[in-house]
Every structure is written in structure tokens, then in C-alpha cells.
Symmetry: C2
Subunit: 346 residues, 2 copies
DNA sequence: CTGAAAGCGCTTACAG
DNA sequence: CTGAAAGCGCTTACAG
């Protein structure tokens, strides 16, 4: 049997309550005694029983807030699935998870959501942070005060947090480069369509890909790097513009959530001329494009996992005070070809 | 607050013990009373609290056995990592995990291991089953008696079990076909080196790949399908034989754990002639071959996940009597190119 | 600053 | 067949 608080209490000649207060630094223990108990616990290699901890915590009504940066899109629908899965798993501990959606990329509004959550006595927070000083400062302030914040899917520079859960964008860029190199056998004029660089990860990804091309793939030229918005019309216009201005493009990295309109723009410009397309993520539209051979491959970032992990990390912190060994919790990135799609699941 | 046994007891006008006995079919409750309690619990949508369950179970000394089919190899080293990760996570519930390694592919020996485990009062079992009537019958017998058995990494036909955790070999075959089609642009003479068909999943995988070629890839010919053993010398001989007998081979699916010797055989036969190689799994040798461009891509089966999931499923069963909704728990298969390898981690 | 007691929700000897 | 009580290990008012 493992060593318990009761056993430590016996050996130290104090009560269980005192051991608990000492080990969890709750104060109200004579410093010398606390120190003695802590040393003893270490010597005995005491590991608190997490199940008992979770059960005893049940009536405290702990809450975790999840704060998004947009109203919704297909990627975050999946993130939310993962969040809900984790929420269900931890519900027996009495910990609640509340999700707050934001006006698209509205930093003022997001800040209000944070304040709202805090006023509701939330004890931990996962946030898809909008890249604004407003948000950065608030997160830094929270972290300084020991409040656990997990950045979810979007990383921020010059900001402190308990953990970042999301894609390793630089590695994703490298993998995209390798994939495009493989598919094109090292010869391509590439048009890059990226989601907004307002989220710095997207910029890291493109830069990392381009770096890899310039050091490893002399035959691959990046003809254009174009940011595309979240909507169909905006995407159509940007894609059209890129294709018209760069008629040499024979390969495209397609990083927009708006698929139908962008593909129409490509076809309008290229006619029947062949083009190799590699995409990002796996919305229903992307799946369909894969299955109809309009896309050769796509790189996915396991959004469901991301949501799941973020909640689990906060849960661990709340129940066991454990911080992740590595604050950068990178979620796996996967190459998907059409044969990976289970048509039965569609 | 969720509904508890205590609350049901109050409403039903009985004690908590009686509710527990009724809901868990432990007998020693008057049938009418038991029925009434069960109905009530359903109406109230009672969900037992898994944390409390785990805690109360602590002193029962439950044990899970893991029974392997070989002494070791690099793939199963990773499977075991996953098993140990899960074992650590559940250790606070007092459930132990014991691992038993087997003489390589020795069904008699594996049967003895099963008996040994049972005599040690193990309450659940994960097994990498050797494809033999001896083992099949035993597993069927156990399952019939309500004893939870999870098949790990290897599936059996005509056998009943709580769950299978492992690769979806047919889908893996399809993905391999798609990958090879992509890499070769649909023109190849393929030599297939597969691990033993004694494990039927390996056969499913090859067959599924070949089916896909014949329906979707007219330009891809399968020149040879060769089984390779686990050791370097045997692999060398089989590879050499295949390459000598099929000089048209320009593409290889390399499914052997013995990398160095087989690659030597390939080189001895082909000289400087180029060959495209796609591999299976991700041992250190495969990693090195990827990084040196001797392998173009490999398909991995997340062995660590497989071990982890198998234990979690048995844990759920032991603590909550829950069976997985789908007994076929397929673990994800991933395409890996060299850019996916984090050289810092090697 | 410290301890005894009760509680989280489920389970299980034990007594009847 | 049934209930009261104690236990799993940690936490927390409460009394002192």
C-alpha cells in the first residue's frame, strides 16, 4: 500500500489535518512543524492519491472557463467537441466547464468575457487569445497572480501562461514543405493562401515552410503569399487576384476555410490547366475535394485533441496542482490523403 | 448536484447498501425491491460517480494482466510504454498491471501464461494473441464466462472478446496503396515485404493494398509478396531472393523490423539503381533511413496509444462495468515523412 | 497553531 | 433479504 496522509500524521505525531495544511501550504501550521512534515513526506516519497483528492473536492463547485475568439467555424466546432469530451470525463469531480464565444476577433469583447468569467468565480481558463496588448496584458496579469491560463490553438509572444496547447506551427511548415516537395518532385511555382497573420502561428508556419524550401528545395519557388479571410466572398477575391497576378502558379497551399468560392476562382483562372493543391485542416468541403481528387493531401491539426488536452491540463492543475512538464503542449499534425478518409463516416 | 445512491435510497425508502446491491446485481435483494430500485434509478437518470467508485474499490487489490506473444521488439517496447503510462494513471485506484512476456510465437507457452495469470487472480486481461486454436478457444471460454479480454495489436477470427485495440489493417492497406500511388505517380513495379501472415492483420493489410491497386491504379504492378521473419539474417535472405527473382522491382513496401540487413540486400542487387521505399513503423533504423532519404515515407500505427487504450478499456470495465460502444477500437494510422521527425528528440 | 469529526459517493463485511 | 457502520484518502469547517 502506498503511503498516505494518515500514515505521515502518525509518524510525525500530528493530525491528518495538519499534514494536509503543511503539504499544501495552506498556512496555519507552525513553520518548524510544517517543514518537518514536508521533509518526512519527501523521505517517504509521498504521492497524494488523486482519486481521493478529486472526490473530496467535489462540493467546492470549481469552474473552468473556455474563451473563444470567434463565434464559430468548423475547426472550432471540433475543438469544442474535445472540450466537451473532457468536461464529461471530469464531471464526476464536480468541476464544470463553461464556454464563452466571442464576437469575431474583437479584443475588447474578449476582454469583457474574461472579466465576466472571473466575476463568476472561475478557477481556471483556456483561451484562444486574440493577438492584442489588451489580452496579452490581462493574461500576464492573471498568470502573475497564479491563476492558471492555457492558450488554446493560438500562441502569443511575450506572454506568460500555464501552457500552450496547439499546433507546432514551425514544424507544420516544415512538414508542408516536405509534403509539397514530395508531391511535386521538387519542382513547383507555389501560391500560398494562408489564414490571417493576425494569429502569429499562421505566420510562423508560412515562414518555416519558405525557409525549408530555400535551404532544401532549389526547384520550388514561392510565387505569392496571400492572406485570405474567413468568408467565401473575400476568399474568392483574394484567390482570383493571386491567380491573375501570378500565372506561373502550378501548385497551391490552400489554407482557407472557404473552399468552394476559392476553388471556383482557381478554375476560372486556370481553365483545364492542371494544378496541385495541398490544403490545411479537414472540413467537409476539404474532404469532398480530397475524394474528388481536387486536393492531393491536407495537413490536419487534430482540433478535437487540442480542446481535450487544454481541459485536461487545467483539470490536473486544479486537482493536483500539477503544471505540465513542458508548457508547450504540441498536438500532433498529420498528413491526410484521400485514402485516409473513411467514406462510411461521412 | 447529481443524483446519488443515497438519494435513491431515501426516495425508495431503503438503505444505500440495498440500492448498491440492486443496481449492481449483487443479489441478496428481494427481486421486487431490486426491480423497483432499478426503475427508479433509470427514471432519475442515475449515473454512478466513477471517482467515488474508484476510491471505494481501492482495497480490493484488482489486477490486470498483459500477455505478450514475443520476448520483445522495438514496436512492443513502445506498446509497453503506453501500458505503463496507463498503469501509472490508474495506480491511485489500487489496480495493478502485470506484464508477461512470451517465448516468441509459442502458443503452448502463451496458454500457460494465461493460466498463470488466472491463478494469480487477475480480473482482466489484454493479450497479443498467437493465432492458434489453443489460444482462440481459451479466449472464447474466458469471454463466455464474462471475463474481460482485450486483443492487443493482433486480431483473431472466430473469437469473442471485450474489445480489439489495434490497427485497422484493411484501412492501412488502402492508405499504403494511396501513398505509393502518390509517390510513384501511379507507375510502379512493387515488391512487398510483409511481416508474417501468421498474424492475420498483416495479410489483411497486404490484400487490401493489392485490391486497391487493381481497382484504382492500373499502372502499379505487384511483382512479389514476400514474408520476412523478425531477424536480420532471415530478412537478408528473403529480400535478396525477392530482388534477384524480380529484377523489375523499382518500388518496395518494406515491412520488416530488420532494416540494416534488408537494405544491404537491396543495394547488393540494385547497385546504384534508384528505388522508392515506403516502410512500416518507426524504429530508430527507420528514422535514420528516412533522414538519409533511403525511405520516402512510413506508415505508423501509434503503438504507445495501442497499449494505453487497451489498459484504459479494461480499467473502465473494472471500475464502471462499461464496455466500449464499438468493440473494434482502431488506433490511428499516420503517414510520416522525414520532415515529421524531430531530430532534437533522437 | 492544532485536532477531532464529518464529508465527498460508493462498497462491503457484519449482524440480524 | 436488509440496514447500520466503517472504510477508501483527502479536505474543511469548527472548536479550542
Amino acid at each position: 500500500m502506498a503511503i498516505t496522509i494518515k500514515k505521515i500524521a502518525e509518524i510525525a505525531g500530528v493530525s491528518a489535518g495538519t499534514v494536509d495544511r503543511a503539504l499544501n501550504n495552506r498556512g496555519r501550521v507552525k513553520p518548524e512543524v510544517a517543514e518537518r512534515i514536508r521533509t518526512l513526506a519527501q523521505e517517504l516519497n509521498y504521492q497524494p492519491n488523486s482519486v481521493a483528492k478529486s472526490l473530496s473536492i467535489k462540493n467546492k463547485g470549481l469552474k473552468i472557463a473556455v474563451i473563444l475568439h470567434i463565434v464559430r467555424n468548423s475547426f472550432f466546432d471540433e475543438v469544442i467537441q474535445g472540450i466537451k469530451k473532457a468536461a464529461k470525463e471530469i464531471s464526476d469531480t464536480g468541476i464544470q466547464v463553461v464556454i464563452k464565444t466571442c464576437k469575431d476577433f474583437d479584443a475588447d469583447y474578449q476582454l469583457k468575457l474574461i472579466e465576466e468569467a472571473l466575476s463568476e468565480d472561475v478557477k481556471a481558463m483556456a483561451i484562444v487569445p486574440i493577438n492584442s496588448p489588451l489580452i496579452k496584458n490581462k493574461i500576464n496579469e492573471l498568470t502573475e497572480n497564479g491563476f492558471p491560463v492555457v492558450l488554446l490553438t493560438a500562441i502569443l509572444e511575450d506572454t506568460n501562461y500555464l501552457a500552450y496547447v496547439g499546433c507546432d506551427y514551425r514544424r507544420a511548415g516544415k512538414i508542408l514543405a516536405g509534403l509539397i516537395n514530395l508531391i511535386t518532385r521538387g519542382k513547383a511555382n507555389l501560391g500560398v493562401l494562408s489564414p490571417t497573420f493576425q494569429m502569429c502561428g499562421h505566420l510562423y508556419r508560412v515562414n518555416s515552410m519558405c525557409d525549408y524550401f530555400s535551404t532544401h528545395c532549389p526547384g520550388i519557388q514561392v510565387s505569392s503569399i496571400t492572406e485570405v479571410p474567413n468568408d467565401e466572398i473575400g476568399t474568392y477575391m483574394e484567390v482570383k487576384k493571386m491567380m491573375e497576378e501570378h500565372s506561373d502558379i502550378d501548385t497551391i497551399l490552400y489554407g482557407s476555410v472557404a473552399v468552394k468560392a476559392g476553388f471556383r476562382a482557381i478554375r476560372e483562372c486556370l481553365g483545364e490547366k492542371p494544378v496541385r493543391i495541398v490544403a490545411l485542416d479537414l472540413s467537409d468541403d476539404i474532404k469532398e475535394a480530397l475524394l474528388t481528387d481536387n486536393i492531393i493531401a491536407t495537413l490536419i491539426q487534430n482540433p478535437k485533441d487540442q480542446g481535450y488536452r487544454a481541459i485536461r491540463i487545467l483539470f490536473e492543475f486544479l486537482t493536483s496542482n500539477k503544471k505540465p512538464k513542458n508548457p508547450l503542449c504540441y498536438i500532433n499534425t498529420e498528413i491526410i490523403v484521400k485514402e485516409c478518409i473513411n467514406e462510411a463516416e461521412m
